[in-house]
Subunit: 203 residues, 2 copies
DNA sequence: GACGAACTGGGACAGTTGACCCAGTCGCCT
DNA sequence: AGGCGACTGGGTCAACTGTCCCAGTTCGTC
């Protein structure tokens, strides 16, 4: 392996770890599997990280930090049409997320596993909380943009609406990962969009 | 350890395994941890089961089979009041589930972990599918009873409605396990009940 | 009470895993 | 060019885990 700085090595290992976790699950993401994926020796691992636990913690932090807006509101308007209602916009956004899930199911499965892992120990629980706060944050932006675009007003604090949407999204994710039923997922999306849009007053 | 039949031993081990998984997670549910919980020796384990994998598969089957109606419709009527609407009944049912979740979060977390474990290997995927089919089945019964009690009629096949409700329930579960925010959970419940009840025509 | 089969306990073993150590090599700075 | 600190590779270790074996014990049946 070529020489690289400790910082580069850390991120290379984190990338490799994410690939291993996605492909084979967290339990199979041993130090050896990760360094093999990254093409390094075991010593490099412990040169860059104190322990496997430290890497997993960083991995969670990294995936959370990288989580990007799945939806740019402008695109949604393009997708949903010019005079789209709030419900239509929300539905278009959920469908966008669903496409993302279908394109890379293993990634979402990895996220779920990382959440569960974090939930298992008190000192890591905050990582899971941060992960979901990040989700909520992204959703808040989207919901505000959607309301602005349609002239609607959220009747509840938008953070509350976002939290509900995050829950719906999670349910959609798990159930689809289990049954891979696209039509059923579409019904969840429609119901969620309907419920969500009722939390706002139209313009 | 007293003598017991292989069948008794199998179920005792499965019970013990469920306790270990709930308390410490699937990864920590080693053969030794399980027999310690059951108060047996390691040899008894492999006398009763071919392998740890076999036990885990049986465990999934067992928890799925044991999954009982969380809600008896009559109780819900009592809880929601005599002239309750469909939406109120659905909400009462969801709240009943939520109380169950609050009373034993570790159990629901264990169920989630078992699902994810099953999702990870093709030959076990059907176990997860069966698990969710069982959930849907229970929900179907409840939804039909609720519709009958209020004289409402589901506009979609009730199986479709059930699948949506299962997804909402999962989302509620995960997000609450993460943030333990009861008020936020109540909002999810209300939104879900609203969305669901719109899938029916009132009497 | 004797007998065979069912059952049990303790120990053993090989494979895996996280961690680490040390001798060596490389790249940068002076 | 030389030196020093950063980095690397390979080997090693103890702990843990799943599995298995075997000598012994206990139970139901005759």
């Amino acid at each position: 392996m070529a020489r690289m700085s400790a910082a580069d090595r850390r991120s290379a290992l984190i990338e490799a770890a994410l690939r291993v976790v996605s492909r084979e699950g967290l339990a199979q993401a041993t130090t050896r599997a990760i360094v093999a994926e990254a093409g390094m020796s075991l010593a490099s691992f412990h040169y860059a990280f104190e322990s496997r636990d430290e890497l997993v913690d960083e991995l969670i932090g990294a995936v959370v930090a990288r989580e990007r807006k799945a939806v740019a509101p402008e695109e949604l308007v393009a997708a949903a049409g010019e005079g789209a209602t709030l419900a239509e916009l929300v539905e278009a956004g959920l469908l966008r997320y669903f496409e993302h899930l279908r394109a890379d199911p293993e990634h979402e499965q990895a996220m779920l596993e990382l959440t569960q892992y974090a939930l298992r120990s008190p000192e890591r629980h905050p990582l899971a909380v941060a992960q979901y706060e990040r989700y909520a944050e992204l959703v808040v932006e989207a919901l505000e943009a959607a309301a602005a675009l349609t002239g609607a007003r959220w009747r509840l604090p938008v953070e509350h609406v976002a939290r509900v949407l995050v829950a719906f999204t999670d349910g959609l994710t798990i159930t689809w990962l289990v049954d891979r039923d696209d039509a059923a997922a579409a019904r969840v999306v429609a119901a969620a969009a309907d419920a969500l849009s009722r939390m706002a007053d139209p313009r």
